[in-house]
Amino acid sequence: MENNGQTAPKKIRKSLPVSFHYTLMTIPGFLWMIAFSIVPMVGILMAFQNYMPKKGWFGSEWVGLSNFTYLMSLGDVWNIVRNTLVIAIGKLVLNIVIPLVFAILLNEVKNVAFKKSVQTIVYLPHFISWVILANIVGNIFGFFGIFNSVYTAFGNEPKMWLTDPNLFQGFVIGTDVWKEFGYNAVVFLAALTGISPSLYEAAAIDGASRWQSIRNITLPALIPTVVLLTTLAMGNVLNAGFDQVFNMYSPMVYSTGDIIDTYVYRIGITNMQFSLATAVGLFKSVVSFTLITVSYVLAYKFADYTIF
């Protein structure tokens, strides 16, 4: 390919090296990235300033770490970090365990048509936005919603599921697991298609029970995937899911439902305390970046996983 330039010297355009054209191709993408990913990184400066929109990023007064010390002195921050951790870790664990169990159960079904139909249906919620799902879930679990109709039929008092601070975290985790389990099971199901049916046949001939073949054939085939997913999930420890929480929470559940991202939104966009909000965001970005990098390195070392 590189001798292309030498064999076709007639046209000037062709005599330019191939790599020149390659660079031309990447330019729009990199410009886009610089404008909307790199330039905002410069804005991190705001975390160390008393940012004034009129003075800009390079004219505002420098205040060192005082935004951070001020944040530490506010009680909210620890509460918010705790909420974030509880919700995020709950999701991380259950978003691996539940899809794993689901994939194993589905693998036990012999009827192909049934298997395919179930699979097709359970992917659906993944593609619906949280704006819409939060609305629907809110109706189902609202005070006058269908869930309470069923709940009270068993002789219980109706509850306000979405506005009870004690229930909110569990609620967020549960609905997220419900939305994503089908989608998350795809990787497990892909791993399962790699198991040779002759293994199950041999096990059956040897008199292995259902449970024994699940434990000794199915599960071991899935363990590498579980290990890999767990490692990669580490980077999401501070990601409790902005879209979901933002669409589901209300002032009544701030005590347990407010997470880093929603806090940043409220103090930054709503109250326009840009510097403080940037400082909180920076804390999250740095911790997440460190964790993701560590997790990728681990995944590469132990599972030969590379992203590119």
């Binding site: 660079t23 990235m33 049916p197 002032p251």
Partner: protein, 295 residues
């Protein structure tokens, strides 16, 4: 397959099928419920009588939505956003992914570019600096912001790149011997050979643009520029900032809103999604397994 049917094994099969059925129903029911609410009587809805079937069937809510100019305005903005956004994103990331699919020998800056991309995927400046940046560019309240503000979808670039990399290199060599330059090779050889992965990314991208609500909320400062999802977000009970309502007041607020009308809007917002779903279904399994895990 050798069948080994004990009583317990049969029992397991029955329970297993029941569990899976229940899960499948749980994924479909919310959609069905929303549909039922949207075609039911307003009063029946607010008193919680609608469960499995519509009560007092009528299409008043849909008639109301039909005449709602704001709703259709937002719908149209979302449609434009999906079309412009997807076309722009695809052209840019295909061009970006192709040189990156070359190895370091064929294209020197490749590794450096790759690390820059990965860095931008893993680290970001945070919501506020991003918001101020877009504002400084003067993009507030423009369609350009709705298309561009999300920056390069790095994960999709990697997906495309990995696919391009696995195409047989003979194809490109043959084309280049026949005198095709890099641009021609990309658009006439590589792209037509990569239909499955491109279809996957097109679907991911368009669904992403359709579902996105946050940029619409913070970057559009008048509601006539809201995309549909942002519009839907706004029709749900609004509580003024800084006001803490008691549980009873909140319930009251909730009661006064027209749930049937809301459900009709939500349902219409889901329809485009439901239309592309069969295609999505077909391609996205590829998409995820190609990239091992979705970020």
């Amino acid at each position: 397959m050798v069948e080994n049917k004990t009583f317990l094994s049969r029992l397991f099969d029955v329970i297993n099928v029941l569990i899976l059925l229940l899960l499948a129903v749980s994924c479909l029911y919310p959609l069905w419920y929303t549909f039922c609410v949207s075609v039911s009587d307003k009063i029946a809805v607010s008193s919680g009588q609608v469960t499995m079937f519509p009560i007092g069937f009528n299409i008043n809510s849909y008639k109301l939505v039909m005449g709602d100019a704001k709703f259709w305005n937002s719908f149209w903005i979302s449609v434009q956003r999906v079309v412009f956004g997807t076309v722009f994103t695809m052209v840019v990331i295909i061009m970006m992914a192709y040189p990156l699919s070359k190895n370091k020998r064929e294209y020197k800056p490749r590794n450096f570019m790759m690390w820059a991309l990965i860095f931008c995927m893993l680290f970001n400046g945070g919501t506020i600096p991003w918001f101020i940046t877009v504002k400084t560019y003067g993009l507030m309240n423009t369609m350009a912001a709705l298309v561009l503000a999300g920056s390069v979808p790095v994960f999709n670039v990697i997906l495309l790149m990995n696919f391009f990399r696995n195409l047989p290199s003979d194809l490109e060599e043959a084309a280049s011997i026949d005198g095709a330059g890099p641009w021609r090779i990309l658009w006439q050889i590589v792209v037509p050979c990569s239909v499955p992965v491109i279809a996957t990314v097109v679907l991911f991208t368009s669904v992403g643009f359709w579902n996105e609500f946050f940029q619409g909320l913070v970057l559009m400062n008048s509601d006539d520029m809201y995309p549909l999802q942002t519009y839907i977000k706004q029709i749900v009970v609004q509580i003024p900032v800084g006001v803490t309502l008691t549980a009873e007041q909140y319930q009251q607020l909730n009661q006064n809103s027209n749930k049937a009308l809301e459900a009709a809007k939500v349902f219409i917002a889901m329809i485009p999604m439901l239309i592309v779903y069969p295609f999505l279904q077909k391609y996205f399994v590829n998409g995820i397994t190609l990239g091992a895990v979705k970020e």
